[in-house]
């Protein structure tokens, strides 16, 4: 089976007034048709940049694709023009964003924005577009969809807006949906509802979803395979079981250890000491070593190798080799 999206050794830099800034380093990830893949990591670790790069939504004049490929259906999209990308966007791949408050155009009605994409990609008439729009609003569980069609974004609540954005993203039944922190701006109840809608529609449409979040709970609930990102690079990848029950990378272990445990209410919350490195002053060697409880000499000087912890379970760390070396000692 050919992967729907195959990102290979992608490196992205931004032009800033302080010079070229590398935001994403040597990221490889694959998404197969119909599966849900999660990307977790702290703010600023490159999750959103990676996903927006795959749709080439990053501001063209400030972005430099310094290496790697983004294969969509086996075809590299990096050299494609804006017009060529526009044929893919919305129809084959779509995205929902973090902040539903600012992601809708305030001066256009929901119906107008919803119909625009449908008319563009499916070449339907006005009436047919409106019928389709109604159907979509119903599918995402909005009450009285006829009324919503003629309302403006400011007349809707955050949860309703996010549902509208989901409806827009799904309007042309894309094969891949990037959900970039889709519930971060919502309250917990609404979050659960929106995730349910996403899950149900994914099953109905058979599309693949890339779910980006810093919320491990959301990721655990939704995803089959997970990529853990730290400071612009992927540190560990594996199935949900691998990541949550057999974390191999010290960063992943630290993330899981910092989760509150309802069974042990008296236990003090732990965190990972220190903070994510400044992208301008990236440590040599392993990016995580300044905060890593198991850091060794090797970590400071050379980039760690990619190790296999099991089938499909990889992590980037020196620990395995150190363990192997210890065993090799007489």
């Amino acid at each position: 089976m050919q992967a729907l999206l195959d990102v290979r050794h992608l490196t992205i830099s931004f032009h800033t007034y302080r010079g070229l800034l590398e935001a994403v380093h040597d990221v490889s990830l694959t998404v197969n048709p119909g599966e849900t893949v999660g990307i977790v990591g702290e703010s600023g670790c490159g999750k959103s940049v990676t996903s927006q790069a795959a749709m080439k939504l990053l501001p063209a004049e400030a972005t430099e694709y310094t290496g790697g490929q983004i294969l969509w259906d086996g075809r590299d999209v990096i050299p494609l023009s804006e017009t060529q990308m526009n044929r893919l966007r919305g129809r084959d791949m779509a995205m929902i964003f973090q902040d539903p408050m600012t992601s809708l155009n305030p001066v256009l009605t929901i119906g107008n924005q919803l119909c625009e994409g449908i008319a563009l990609h499916q070449h339907l008439g006005r009436k047919a577009c409106e019928a389709k729009a109604l159907e979509l609003l119903r599918a995402v569980g909005l009450t009285s969809p006829e009324k919503r069609l003629h309302q403006y974004p400011h007349e809707l609540s955050g949860g309703m807006r996010q549902r509208c954005l989901i409806a827009m993203a799904l309007s042309c039944s894309p094969r891949l949906l990037f959900a970039d922190e889709p519930t971060t701006a919502l309250d917990v109840t609404t979050e659960a509802q929106v995730l349910d809608v996403l899950k149900r529609l994914q099953a109905e449409l058979g599309m693949a979803v890339v779910l980006i979040s810093h919320n491990l709970g959301v990721i655990a609930q939704m995803c089959r395979r997970i990529y853990v990102m730290y400071a612009g690079a992927i540190v560990e990848e594996g199935t949900a079981d691998d990541i949550f029950y057999r974390p191999a990378h010290p960063y992943t272990q630290g993330l899981l250890a910092s989760l509150p445990d309802p069974a042990q209410k008296d236990k003090a919350l732990t965190g990972i000491p220190g903070q994510a490195p400044d992208l301008f002053h990236m440590p040599e060697g392993c990016r995580f070593y300044p905060r890593c409880p198991q850091a060794m000499k090797a970590c400071m000087t050379a980039a760690p190798p990619r190790e296999e912890a099991g089938p499909g379970h990889h992590y980037t760390c020196w620990l395995a080799q150190a363990a192997a070396a210890k065993e090799a000692l007489p």
Partner: protein
């Protein structure tokens, strides 16, 4: 209800303007009949009595407000036999015609040029237009008028240099008058369009495959036009009441000239009349703009509150 409230407010503002202008005007030394060669005291007394200028100031003021309330702006002191209403009725249509043409020219050219500059951001097209706009804002209209006359009336005699006799006579003064607002509107459109294009909802629209043309024209422009529209209100009033400089250079019988000459002449009624008329026009234009706002941005209601 809203309109009634606004109109009532306008009346209060007009009254305040009359009072302040009346006070300032009488604070300037001299009067409409003070001349180099003194009039004989008896003649002076007759003339002043004829126009009630011998009465105490407060009585003149009450008199004026009473007449102004029924839209009678009084007789001109310098143009015997003409009332201020006559002067406005004669000259305003000329100024308004010229002003409206310049206004549409400025809006059309300014918005289009601003869109082009935003579209071709940071290319030579953008830079050329921005240099042009900076020139347009900083070159005074009398210099531009002189250059235009030299070029198109003398070097290539294709257009008349002055006077007001037909369509061809409009071109040069309209250009001279429109240059500055065009440049201003262009800069305003460019910057607010670029601002709008950086918003989240543009990224959302891009993620749905919306093309650049539609992004600018359908999504960003309506958001970007609000500051332009606010600028157009007072601009329309200023252009329609005429420009002293342009009307003088092109010998156009418009209202703008009276604005300035009436002050030299201490032609009290004309000063007051034109001031009132200009203020009224500005207020009406602003009212019009406030009615247009909600059409552009549904978050703005008529009461001026912004929701959401």
């Amino acid at each position: 209800m809203y309109l009634a409230k606004r109109l009532a407010g306008a009346c209060v503002v007009l009254w305040a303007i009359i009072t302040i202008t009346f006070g300032l005007m009488h604070a300037i030394p001299g009067g409409p009949f003070t001349q180099e060669k003194k009039l004989p005291p008896a003649v002076m007394a007759t003339v002043e009595a004829r126009y009630h200028l011998d009465e105490p100031l407060w009585s003149q003021y009450v008199d004026y407000v009473r007449h102004a309330a029924v839209l009678d702006l009084g007789p001109s002191y310098k143009y015997p036999g003409k009332t201020v209403n006559d002067i406005i009725a004669e000259t305003f249509p000329v100024s308004a015609q010229l002003g409206l043409i310049s206004l549409f020219l400025a809006i059309g050219a300014g918005v289009l040029a601003g869109m082009a500059a935003a579209w071709y951001k940071n290319t030579w097209i953008d830079y050329t237009m921005m240099v042009g706009a900076t020139l347009g804002v900083s070159v005074p209209s009398f210099i531009l008028a002189a250059v235009l006359i030299q070029l198109f009336a003398f070097t290539w005699p294709i257009l008349p240099a002055a006077l007001w006799k037909g369509p061809a006579y409009v071109v040069l003064p309209a250009l001279a008058l429109a240059a500055q607002p065009t440049a201003f509107i262009m800069r305003l459109t460019r910057s607010s369009l670029l601002d709008a294009l950086g918003q989240d909802y543009i990224r959302t629209a891009r993620s749905r495959g919306i093309g650049t043309r539609s992004l600018i024209c359908h999504h960003a422009l309506r958001n970007a036009l609000l500051p332009v529209v606010s600028y157009i209100g007072p601009l329309a009033a200023a252009l329609m009441t005429g420009s002293f400089i342009v009307e003088t250079i092109f010998a156009i019988p418009g209202l703008g000239r009276h604005f300035v000459t009436s002050i030299y002449n201490r032609d009290y009624t004309v000063i007051l009349g034109i001031t009132i008329f200009y203020s009224f026009l500005i207020m009406m234009m602003n009212l019009l703009i406030d009615v247009i706002y909600p059409l552009l941005d549904p978050r703005i209601t008529m009461d001026g509150k912004k929701e959401g």
